[in-house]
């Protein structure tokens, strides 16, 4: 939670973005975005919708193509071959706004599928890992249920455990609490805070300013396809250095 644990003075850069460009037809969604994320850092990306936050996040694990510049994740360069993209995806976990659990599989099957097929670990080890991670996110007793039998908050915690089961070096969160009922937001944020404190490198697109304030080492403010502000949370929320940031903060605080 402290600046030293998650702050900018972390390890070596694990993600480096240089002049990243994304276009959708004539619309430029990302306009030469450059930044770095160090090992162990927790970075929150905030800003108005349509500003390119999610697109940027999705380019880091190759869900969106890169039209210019490059992203280097753990030494792997994107854009790259299909193989490179697969390698990146195995090191980068992602949690989606709408959970995206495999609905026809039990919670256990959701958690062991990727470790067994993409990491080639054995069934016993995968089971053990699944049970341990579900305990960690506080729903060890739900392992044999189906996603439809769980609440939204529980489903999102399963989704976090599913991503962690690949033992990723980086976790990406794409508005993980936006689809949740208010009373379930806290249980997901608690898991994210615990994960941040454990030293996981995290990039979170979020509207939860309390989380950004509590857990983030840096806050990036994105609008119009650019990173306009890059500041520690204390400074980000107290003094606006950009006009659009000021207007954004005045609407949400």
């Amino acid at each position: 939670m402290s600046e030293t644990a998650n702050g900018t003075n972390g390890g070596d850069p694990i993600i480096r973005c240089r002049g990243v460009v994304k276009r959708f037809d004539d619309f430029t969604a990302l306009d030469a975005v450059s930044t770095e994320v160090r090992t162990g850092e927790v970075v929150c990306i905030v800003g108005p919708s349509g500003g390119g936050k999610s697109t940027f996040l999705r380019m880091i694990n190759g869900l969106e193509g890169i039209d210019g510049g490059e992203i280097v994740v753990d030494g792997i360069h994107l854009p790259g071959s299909k193989k490179d993209i697969q390698r990146v995806r195995r090191e980068v976990g992602m949690v989606f706004q709408s959970f995206n659990l495999f609905m026809h599989m039990s919670v256990r099957e959701n958690l062991i599928l990727a470790p067994m097929t993409a990491r080639k670990i054995g069934r016993a080890a995968a089971d053990e890992r699944a049970e341990r991670l579900l305990e960690r996110v506080g729903i060890g007793d739900q392992i044999d249920k189906y996603p439809s039998q769980l609440s939204g908050g529980q489903q999102q915690r399963v989704a976090i455990a599913r991503a962690l089961a690949m033992e990723p070096k980086v976790m990406l969160f794409d508005e993980p609490t936006s689809a949740l009922d208010p009373e379930m937001i806290k249980e997901v944020l608690d898991v994210m805070v615990e994960l941040a404190e454990s030293g996981m490198t995290m990039l979170c697109v979020t509207h939860e300013m309390s989380f950004a304030r509590e857990a983030a080492g840096r806050v990036l403010f994105m609008a119009d396809g650019q990173i306009l502000v890059d500041a520690p949370p204390a400074r980000f929320f107290s003094e606006a250095e950009d006009e659009r940031q000021a207007s954004f903060l005045s609407k949400i605080l």
Partner: protein, 257 residues
């Protein structure tokens, strides 16, 4: 539930009775009574072995259309989702050709024209198996494609984000819910192919159930009894299969999560 079921059953039965009554009235009005009095269904019994053999061929073609159709339809549907555009065009062209030309034309082309191109002659039955299989694959490709596209986009994205190998993504994440969605459509399509076997039979003389019934007519010079019997068999089986499909569809949608 049971009460609603009985009500639906009653309505179903009464609807069926009403149709039969209407048809009956229509026929009665135009009936040639002396001919009817000479109805001799005994011919059916006499030719029972030939008719059973024919029915075996009909069943073979029906099941084959289903199996070949689902297997190749699934493969082609996966191809239709490929990022490699020539593969997509190839699948698209295949589907359009086989869905937009008459089955009879396809069958005769395969049996008589294809050997001129390839130099390989096929028996009528083999040509029939190839022909109905090719057309079934085209129709099933479209059904499977619809099923694949109905799988929520987010689940496919999650599979990508987890770095799942393509084989795992298709066999474990995409196809199970896709197939579950389209099972009723697949079965309904197969009922259509059950009826289409009569075209294979007549077009290539493969000795299916319908051609066996026609042979009875040719041998005995009685047309009414064998053809009526054949129609009744198709009707009862097709109708029954449709009812099973509907029941399965209801059960699947009830289990929907």
């Amino acid at each position: 539930m049971t009460r609603a079921g009985t009500m639906a059953g009653l309505a179903n039965r009464w609807g069926f009775h009403a149709v039969l009554l209407a048809l009956g009235a229509l026929m009665l009005a135009n009936l040639n009574w002396p001919l009817v009095q000479s109805f001799e269904f005994v011919f059916i019994w006499e030719y029972r072995i030939a008719l059973l053999k024919g029915f075996g061929i009909t069943l073979l073609l029906t099941v084959e259309a289903g199996v070949v159709g689902v297997v190749f339809g699934t493969l082609f549907a996966i191809g239709s989702q490929s990022a490699y555009s020539p593969l997509r065009w190839l699948v698209g062209a295949y589907v359009e050709v086989f869905r937009n030309t008459p089955l009879l034309v396809q069958l005769l082309w395969i049996h008589f024209a294809l050997p001129l191109v390839t130099g390989i002659n096929t028996t009528a039955l083999v040509s029939g198996i190839i022909g109905i299989g090719l057309q079934a694959a085209a129709y099933y490709t479209e059904i499977m494609r619809a099923g694949i596209q109905a799988v929520p986009r987010g689940q496919v994205e999650a599979a990508h984000a987890l770095g799942l190998p393509a084989w795992t993504r298709w066999t474990r994440v995409v196809l199970p819910p896709a197939i579950r969605t389209v099972i009723p459509a697949l079965l309904n399509q197969n009922i259509s192919f059950f009826k289409a076997t009569a075209i294979v039979g007549l077009g290539l003389l493969v000795g299916d159930f319908f051609t066996a019934a026609l042979r009875v007519s040719n041998d005995t010079f009685h047309f009414l009894e064998p053809l009526t019997f054949a129609a009744a068999v198709y009707l009862v089986l097709g109708w029954q299969a449709g009812r099973w499909t509907l029941r399965l569809e209801r059960r699947l949608s009830r289990g929907e999560r």
